[in-house]
Amino acid sequence: MRLLRRFGRFWWEFVVGDDWLVAAVVGLAIGATAALAAASVTAWWLLPLAVLLVLWLSLQRAIRSTD
C-alpha cells in the first residue's frame, strides 16, 4: 500500500509538478478548444491565451508563497 502511494505520488509530482493550477487550466482550455471546434467555431486562439493566463496566475501564486 505504501509502495503504491509512493508510486502514485511520484507520477503526480512528475506530471502535475509544483502547481496543480497549471494542469487544471490546461485541461479546461483543451476541453473548451474541443467544444469550440466541435461547434465549427475557430478555436486555435484559445490555447495561446490560456498559456499566458495560467503562466501569470501561477507566477502570482509562487510569488505570494515566497512572501
Partner: protein, 252 residues
C-alpha cells in the same frame, strides 16, 4: 529538414543537455566521494534502464492514432513546458535563486562523504544508488520528451539523435573538466526548452482537440514567438515589480 523537424531535434538536444548537466553533477559527486567504480556502475545501470524504457514504450506509442496521441502528448508537454517556463521566469526575475551547480555539487559531495559505507556485489552501495537514482530520475524526463515529441512528430529517431548529441557533448565536457558544468547558462537553456515544450504542447493539443492552425505547421513559429515574447514580458514585469518593492522598503 522541415521546421517542426528542426524544432524536434533542438528540443530533444536542449532538454537532454539541461538534465544531463544535473545528472553529471550527481555522478561526479558520487565518483569523487565513494569511488568511480560504483558511480560508473550506477550510471551504466540507469542508462540500461532508460534504454529499456525507450525500447518498450517507443514502438507502443507508434500504434496509437495520431490525433489522440497529439491530444494527450500536447496536454502533457504543455504542463511540462509551463512548469519549466515558470521556474525560469521566477529565477530570471530574481524571485528564486539561480540554479547553482557548484553549491549543489559541494553539498552532495559532503553528504556522500559522510554516509556510512556498505558493500554489495563488490560495489559501494551508497555511491551506486546515488549515481543510479540521479541519472534515472533526470533521464526519465528526457525519455518522456524524446518519446512523446518523436511519436507525435512521427520521427522518434530524430528526437533520439538530438538527445544523443547532447549526451555525447555533456559527457565529453564532463570527462574533460571533471567538475560540475557551472558555466552552462542553465536558466537560459531552461527558458529555451520551456518555450519549445509549451509551443509544441499548444500546437499539438489544439490540433488533437480538433482546432486547425492558420498556416498549418508554419504557425509553430508564430506560437513560439508568442510564448517567447510573453515570457520575456513577464520577466520584465516581475523584475520591475521586485525593484519597486525594494525601493519602497528602503524608503520606509
Amino acid at each position: 529538414m522541415s521546421t517542426p523537424d528542426v524544432f524536434l531535434v533542438l528540443s530533444a538536444f536542449l532538454a537532454c543537455a539541461v538534465e544531463m548537466v544535473e545528472a553529471l553533477t550527481i555522478v561526479l559527486a558520487a565518483g569523487l566521494a565513494r569511488g568511480w567504480r560504483s558511480s560508473l556502475a550506477g550510471l551504466a545501470a540507469a542508462t540500461v534502464a532508460l534504454a529499456v524504457a525507450v525500447a518498450a514504450l517507443g514502438p507502443a506509442l507508434t500504434v496509437v492514432p495520431l490525433q489522440a496521441l497529439r491530444l494527450v502528448v500536447g496536454a502533457l508537454l504543455l504542463v511540462f513546458g509551463l512548469q519549466w517556463l515558470r521556474k525560469a521566469i521566477l529565477r530570471a526575475s530574481g524571485y528564486r535563486a539561480l540554479h547553482d551547480e557548484d553549491a549543489i555539487f559541494a553539498s552532495q559531495l559532503e553528504e556522500a562523504r559522510a554516509a556510512a559505507g556498505v558493500e554489495r556485489a563488490g560495489l559501494d552501495w551508497y555511491g551506486f544508488t546515488l549515481s543510479f537514482k540521479g541519472v534515472l530520475l533526470e533521464g526519465l524526463e528526457v525519455v518522456f520528451i524524446v518519446l512523446t515529441f518523436g511519436s507525435a512528430q512521427g520521427s522518434i529517431p530524430l528526437a533520439v539523435a538530438g538527445a544523443a548529441a547532447a549526451l555525447v557533448l555533456v559527457a565529453a565536457v564532463g570527462v574533460a573538466v571533471r567538475a560540475p558544468l557551472a558555466r552552462v547558462p542553465e536558466n537560459a537553456l531552461k527558458f529555451a526548452v520551456g518555450s519549445l515544450l509549451t509551443t509544441f504542447g499548444t500546437f499539438w493539443a489544439a490540433e488533437g482537440a480538433g482546432a486547425h492552425w492558420p498556416g498549418a505547421d508554419a504557425s509553430l513559429l508564430g506560437v513560439l514567438g508568442f510564448v517567447a515574447a510573453s515570457s520575456a514580458s513577464l520577466v520584465w514585469l516581475l523584475r520591475r515589480r521586485r525593484l519597486a518593492l525594494r525601493v519602497a522598503e528602503a524608503g520606509s
